[in-house]
């Protein structure tokens, strides 16, 4: 973005801080718009995927083909809805919650590496930054639950907070072997470590740098991938971990008392988060903006490859949502603390041994 703006004639005359400000706002606006559009597409895709799995059609009316303009109708509906707030609700908290949820998701977009020149901010602690900002969502969830003055919302919020906090541990521990391997938290560098043929992808063990020990790193990184994927489902409250917003028990959990634009913001935040975790999975495990076949990399623009891989993972998440039942909250906790965390710790330890052996 800096280079783009630097080329413009007016910009060169502005003082440094103004230039940075405009560059930052530009990035922010582009990201915000692209998130909004992406979320609209996701909501349409979710309904279509759900429909075809359930042997029905889904949205068909609005729009020229298969209800593609349905999200626009939804957006208009959200904008025009009356803003109802529950009596006895803690107004400041209740109003703050959707903003926090959305902000937590939106902040992560800054470091997502869409392409070599398409990263908002090339942070050296990119991965760590993402884990940190995604925790803001927890504060939002609890504010929503408490501020709603509704026992069911409180249940959902408490469950959601417990779940998100707990699953951040296997989430980050699962990625640690990759970080050990690459030696950096910078997302761009993690991707560049996977250039070349797709055997270099971390999901397949990155044979390029491991050589014949690739079989062991394959096992280790595969474990990481699957545990990361499962934990990411829990992070974004998707089935089979969608107990905080489960419809059949809690009437929508912490979303219950929200309507109109506030609810739209929470939905926006959730779908944005879904894309973020898919994007991180693609970055860390599935080759980022490299397509795995060097010839294609020269012709197809990098962001297209990155986004299409992320969209595929988003599709897998939606597929799982409509196939699996949901776990009970104590089973969820049991899976996290007694199954996933020991496995990730053992994985980290073993990969560390492998690394030492190779060095």
């Amino acid at each position: 973005m800096t280079q783009l703006l630097g080329g413009m004639p007016i910009m060169a005359d502005l003082p440094g801080w103004a230039f940075t400000l405009i560059a930052m706002s530009g990035v922010g606006i582009i990201l915000l718009l692209s998130i909004a559009v992406a979320v609209m597409i996701f909501s349409w895709a979710e309904r279509k995927v759900a429909a075809y799995i359930q042997s029905r059609y889904g949205p068909m009316e609005v729009g020229p083909w298969q209800g593609t303009l349905q999200p626009i109708a939804d957006g208009v509906k959200f904008l025009l809805k009356e803003d109802i707030w529950p009596t006895g609700a803690d107004k400041p908290l209740w109003r703050l919650a959707p903003l926090l949820i959305f902000t937590g998701a939106f902040l992560s977009y800054v470091v997502i590496p869409f392409g070599p020149n398409f990263i908002g901010a090339k942070l050296d602690v990119g991965l760590f930054y993402i884990f940190a900002t995604s925790s803001i969502v927890v504060v939002g969830i609890i504010s929503a639950g408490w501020g709603s003055n509704n026992k069911w919302a409180l249940y959902g919020a408490v469950r959601g907070a417990a779940q998100v906090i707990s699953y951040e541990i296997p989430l980050s521990l699962a990625i640690m072997p990759i970080v050990l391997h690459v030696g950096s938290l910078n997302l761009g560098e993690i991707i560049t470590a996977q250039r070349g043929w797709f055997v270099n992808w971390h999901a397949f063990g990155n044979w390029g740098s491991h050589g014949f020990a690739g079989i062991l790193s394959l096992v280790s990184f595969q474990i990481s991938l699957w545990i990361y994927f499962i934990s990411s489902l829990a992070e974004v409250n998707r089935v089979p971990f969608d107990l905080p917003e489960t419809e059949s028990e809690l009437v929508s959990g912490y979303h219950t008392e929200y309507s109109g634009m506030k609810f739209a913001f929470m939905m926006l935040g959730e779908y944005a988060d879904v894309f973020v975790v898919s994007a991180i999975a693609v970055t860390v495990f599935l080759g980022g903006w490299y397509s795995g076949i060097p010839v294609i990399d020269r012709f197809v623009p990098a962001p297209l490859i990155f986004v299409s891989k992320s969209l595929f993972l988003v599709f897998v998440q939606m597929w799982l949502r409509w196939t699996l039942p949901r776990l009970r909250v104590d089973q969820l906790m049991h899976v996290c603390w007694k199954v996933l965390i020991p496995i990730t710790l053992a994985n980290l330890f073993l990969y560390g041994l492998l690394r030492t052996a190779l060095a």
Partner: protein, 397 residues
Amino acid sequence: MNDTSAPLRHLPATREGDAAKPIKSELLHINMGPQHPSTHGVLRLFITTDGEVVHNVTPYIGYLHRCAEKIAEGNSYHQYIVYTDRMDYLAAMNCNWGYCLAVEELLRAGGMEFEIPEYAEYIRVIIGELNRIASHLIAFGTYGLDIGAMTPFFHALREREAILNIFEKVCGARLMYSYYDIGGVKWDLPDDALEEIKIFLDLFPDKLKEYDELLTGNKIFVERTANVGVVDAATCQDYGCTGPVLRGAGVSWDLRRNDTYSIYDRFDFDIPVGKGLVGTVGDCWDRYWVRMQEMEQSSRIIQQAVERLPARGECMAEMPKNLKAAPGELYTRTESPKGELGFYIVSDGGPVPFRCKTRSPAFHNLHVIVKAGQGQMISDLCATIGSLDLVLGEIDR
């Protein structure tokens, strides 16, 4: 309606021993109100929980009470058939059958001699078993919804559509049929209905396998339902639970076999009984599994009935226009998909029953949640309620 602001008089607001602990904790009184996605109708559950663990469940019913029993005392026997549809609206044919059978038995006990044509009896069995399948399909679908799997519901409804289309061909209605009449059935089966029944029987076993793949063996589903909501056989007998709840607890008791009515003794079918295949005997999974097996057995019965269907004949016995039952009282019961559906009819010789009480299976099945719900988590409570397969129309009448 009910005073919800005051706590129930016989429940303490805090646990004993709370005063001694340094942190003050209270039990949470929470209301799973009449409008709730998971309570299968307008059922209100007043739950007292300690965090997620339920200490007490008190069901409040009566939101769908439509005074059916008082209405029975003002309407003739024929006029009341319509009201029996509305009780268990998901298995309306079986409710009709139960009532018509009760009136027929009362007439017979009073000395009236008539014989229901065999053709009509076969039609009754076919249609009744089809409705059993439809009712169990809804039980299966909504149970998936309660547990969180939203897809089996749509697949179940797809099959139920086929059955409802058959019913529409037979009697013109999709939900409230009033097809059975005292002495037989109202109209004959049309030809294309019989064809559709055969087509349905062909494709149904594959669908059952599909449901098993989707839900029955699914590890998450098993985790949610095995060892959850265990109701053992003694509790079932004590609380008066019947139907899949009792059979899921391991007791082989089915009125079609143990207290045979109509022509059920001519058919060859098994009575599935819960064996605790993946958990304890009498848990939610067992009740669910019993229903899945019953669907298979029902299609077996329909297959046999369709093969042995006698030549087309009368579908209704000769009945007087103004039906008067001789004085007497009788309790007759049938096996509806939910359990033992009984009608206790008192007659004093007139055209109108003096008293007509419905023994609703779901009413007594719901009672067991007071015991089974204690000590569970809220999610388990939803799973248990779903496994009891309640229909509020029947509970409230």
